[in-house]
């Protein structure tokens, strides 16, 4: 059972890592802001979500699991809210220096 849980954790965290690497690569390499935003939201939603899932399998108490999912919920909420704000900002093409 522990072995199965450990295997699940490793698989989920690895998959989460993949999304983080991909998200950062997209942020660095994609040519325009809109596609960078697209890359970022993937890393936010899935990368962290998979890591949370993987770690939840290792948590020792129900409180630990609850806090892990609270973190994920908060990040989902804030990225859902800030995505459109960022898109508006990008469309207006605020030029920085």
């Amino acid at each position: 059972m522990t072995l199965l849980l450990d295997a699940f954790t490793v698989a989920a965290v690895l998959a989460g890592l993949l999304f983080f690497v991909a998200g950062t690569a997209g942020l660095l390499r994609f040519p325009d802001t809109a596609s960078r935003l697209h890359a970022l939201t993937k890393a936010d939603h899935l990368g962290l979500g998979l890591i949370v899932l993987g770690l939840a399998a290792q948590a020792e108490s129900a409180g630990g699991v609850l806090r892990l999912f609270a973190v994920w919920a908060l990040v989902l909420l804030s990225s859902a809210a800030s995505g459109p704000i960022l898109a508006r900002l990008a469309r207006r093409g605020g030029a920085g220096g």
């Binding site: 990368g47 804030s78 800030s82 990008a90 920085g96």
Partner: protein, 90 residues
């Protein structure tokens, strides 16, 4: 398991630091804010992984605080950006 999670934390940290290049380079304001947001999310992941690797529940609390304040900071950055139609005409 602890070593594997610690290594995962290090890898996420490395991607976060790489993402800093976008905060430094820009060019647009949205790019900088976005990169700062990825920094926040990545930071949360690092803290969670490290907390599980070292068995420190305090790190999960730190991640929770960071998640709250990252949401706050993103809104502040987006609202505070020059040109964001926030002010009444002076």
């Amino acid at each position: 398991m602890a070593e594997a999670l610690g290594a995962a934390a290090l890898l996420v940290l490395a991607t976060v630091v790489a993402g800093l290049a976008r905060v430094l380079r820009g060019p647009g304001i949205a790019d900088r804010v976005m990169a700062a947001q990825l920094l926040g999310t990545g930071g949360i992941a690092v803290l969670l992984l490290l907390g599980a690797a070292t068995g420190t529940p305090g790190l999960t609390d730190a991640a929770l605080t960071l998640a709250l304040l990252a949401a706050f900071a993103t809104v502040a950055l987006a609202r505070g950006a020059p040109g964001e139609d926030g002010d009444p005409p002076a």
